[in-house]
């Protein structure tokens, strides 16, 4: 059982299951609406009792917070822990130590092998062979390396491999040198660190999921918003929406103060999107804002007559009566809509955003009162009054409500630590290309073998170059001649 859990095959199976369930949940979020628990009767009428029961029971309207998805995540977590615990020692050891091969036979399993005999090297290094050399080559004894030469020859091999970036270690026993040359060994540690990082991220995510809290509070100038369960509160000193010339929102900023129970300001600062305030264990973020769909602070209206484009601008408070100079008229600004639309029940605001701000005004004179709408962005749609006066809306100050998100996540630092570890691990995995050459050298010759870990074709090319280079280096020695 234990061996199954830590096996590679089982780990891959669990990853496959997690992939499948995540893909399934992804599709479900598009097929099943999330408001099923709040509109049960509507969906019961649409789907019937059985399907509604199935959806609610299996949580198909919110798949990533269901028991079955959490079970898969838990299984992933268990397998990750098991694999790390069972393999950490071998991974760490492999990073700092490599074992030379026990026997030459072990090298036969490797993808690439080089067999060199000193005899072949000796004769290869000779440009010409006379008759005696030829006889010696064909019928002479096997070339054996003198014991005193073994270390010197190995020194050449070691120096050559070190020059190519390998770290060489050896053992010598009974006239046989066994060695291992490793490059990119930090890759193994990177692999371990990456998996450890994923584990830590999972832990941080679980902690945040269970113990994290978040809520969005809305307030306007002067409002005091509670700060979680602390004795502190947030005082909204002001809120600004900064627009571009093309009426696009550039940024929105809340001016806030953190106050204590007696109203002392402990912190006074601004909060913008992407620039949260951290206080106590809370993050306070600029989440959103909206415009009150009825109230406004003031509106500035221009009135003129006879097509005079200049006119006079007056500032109107809500429902404030203002006598127009030069006209026997009184104007009132009665109603404000930030996003004016006409519906079956009359004008309404489609969104709480300043997409089409409009003011309803009332003009009262001797002939009675007339009402109409003035539009800030589309003045050509202003209501026409049966009166000798033209009106246009110059500006309006809506009542903004800032949306501040108050959140706390006790797993935040754990998650960030996991991200850091996993990132370092990935960097090591990417930078270091692990290659391992193992060799056995004795009086008769040398066997060198290696396996490429990542890039098979590239390692094959590298091994061919290493082999050719070694042969040249050893041939320059005279093939190990005494």
């Amino acid at each position: 059982m234990r061996r199954s859990i830590i096996s590679y095959r089982f780990a891959v199976t669990v990853i496959a299951i997690l992939f499948g369930t995540s893909a399934f949940g992804w599709i479900l979020t598009e097929l099943v609406p999330p408001d099923v628990p709040y509109q049960r009767e509507i969906y019961r009428a649409r789907w019937g009792d059985t399907w509604l029961w199935l959806v609610e029971r299996l949580g198909l309207h919110d798949p990533f917070h269901t028991f079955w998805y959490r079970a898969v995540l838990a299984l992933f977590f268990i397998v990750l822990v098991a694999c790390l615990v069972s393999r950490w020692r071998s991974i760490v050891l492999r990073t700092f130590r490599s074992e030379p091969p026990d026997e030459a036979r072990e090298l036969s399993k490797r993808d690439h092998r080089l067999h060199l005999s000193w005899r072949e090297l000796k004769w290869k290094s000779r440009d010409r062979r006379d008759v005696l050399d030829e006889l010696e080559y064909r019928y002479g004894p096997e070339k054996r390396l003198a014991p005193g030469r073994m270390e010197a020859v190995f020194g050449v091999i070691s120096s050559f491999l070190r020059g190519r970036g390998f770290r060489v270690s050896k053992t010598k026993e009974g006239g046989v040198i066994r060695f291992v040359a490793v490059a990119g060994r930090w890759r193994y540690f990177g692999n371990f660190l990456f998996h450890l990082g994923i584990l830590v991220i999972t832990v941080g995510g679980m902690v945040g999921s269970f113990w994290g809290e978040t809520e969005i509070l809305y307030g306007t100038d002067g409002d005091i918003l509670p700060l979680g369960g602390t004795p502190y509160a947030i005082l909204v000193d002001g809120f600004d929406v900064i627009m571009t010339d093309q009426m696009a929102v550039k940024e929105y900023i809340s001016n806030v103060s953190i106050i204590d129970t007696v109203g002392n300001r402990l912190v006074t600062t601004t909060i913008e999107v992407n620039k949260p305030l951290r206080f106590d264990r809370y993050d306070i973020l600029q989440s959103s804002y909206y415009v009150d769909e009825e109230a406004f602070r003031w509106a500035r209206v221009r009135y003129s007559s006879g097509g005079n484009p200049v006119g006079t601008v007056v500032r109107l408070e809500p429902d404030e009566a203002f006598s127009l100079e030069g006209f026997p008229l009184v104007i009132r600004a009665k109603r404000f809509l930030p996003d004016f639309k006409i519906g079956p029940n009359g004008p309404y605001s489609e969104t709480p955003n300043m997409h089409n701000p409009a003011i309803e005004v009332e003009l009262e004179g001797e002939g009675g009162a007339q009402e109409g709408w003035l539009f800030l962005y589309y003045p050509r749609f202003n209501s026409r009054f049966d009166l000798p006066v033209q009106l246009s809306l110059v500006d309006v100050a809506p009542v903004y409500f800032t949306g501040l998100q108050i959140s706390t996540n006790p797993g935040s630092m754990v998650l960030l630590a996991g991200i850091a570890a996993a990132t370092i691990g990935l960097a090591l995995l990417y930078i270091f290309n692990y290659r391992c050459l193992k060799g056995v050298m004795d009086a008769e010759g040398l066997i060198l073998a290696g396996t490429g870990y990542r890039w098979k074709v590239s390692f094959r090319e590298e091994f061919e170059k290493v082999s050719a280079g070694l042969v040249d280096a050893l041939s320059d020695l005279g093939g190990g001649d005494a």
């Binding site: 590679y8 990853i15 992939f19 992804w26 093309q246 929102v249 550039k250 929105y252 973020l285």
Partner: protein, 270 residues
Amino acid sequence: MVNTADIDLFWWSFWLYLASFILFTLFASLGKRRIGVVAVVSFAIALVLHTAGIAARWIISTHPPFSTMYEYALTMSWVIGVAFIVILARFRRMVLGVVISPVLIVVLVMASLLPKEIAKQLMPALQSYWFYIHVTLAAVAEGAFLVAAGGGILYLMRGGRRGEDDLVPPRDFIEEIISRSIRIGYPLFTIGALFAGAIWAQRAWGSFWSWDPKETGSLVVWLFYTLLLHQDIRGKWRGGALAVLSIIGFALIVISFLGNLFFGGFHAYI
């Protein structure tokens, strides 16, 4: 309506890429090296115009062009183009253009169908250096995955041809292209799309992860390539299986990319 310079450069590069694809196909069919060279030159010029288009858009919009789906697709396709030139310089296999150029063209076709208006003002949520880190790395990573898909298509097109000739690379070479592309894309995707995205989300929206459809799609893509890599390391899913799976990964990326148009959530932008 008068096009801005970046749109003109987009279309010029698009037609040149298309011409290079036709030339690469002719090269693969007829085996004439001269045609292959012309195809490469055409591709290179298209890439230069493509780069100029991105630069022009950057200048006009006054911010790096990553904020719309069109700009993202432009960047992703640019990565594919650069990857091809690098592979070509390293391995000198012009025939790879037969599969990589159509993959690039598919992404450009997607881009051409998207709104191209320049948003000079980045919305407040995008005004963060994490935006550039997140989107750049994700685009580069997905470009690498798409190169792998191109390799997969070439592997399948190669079919049962044995050995190697001047034109068609050997199987293990194509496999290595696929494998390398995935192993380049995977760390970038993990760090850029997931990690950087999560950190940015925490600063902007107070939560590292909110199961937004785009986030979930990225997780699905990441788990897919995690599975692929683990099997590759085990020596499983090599050869034809790796080729097919690299193409499936491409399909997942396209679905995740186009999901913006259908799914809601924080990433619902066009």
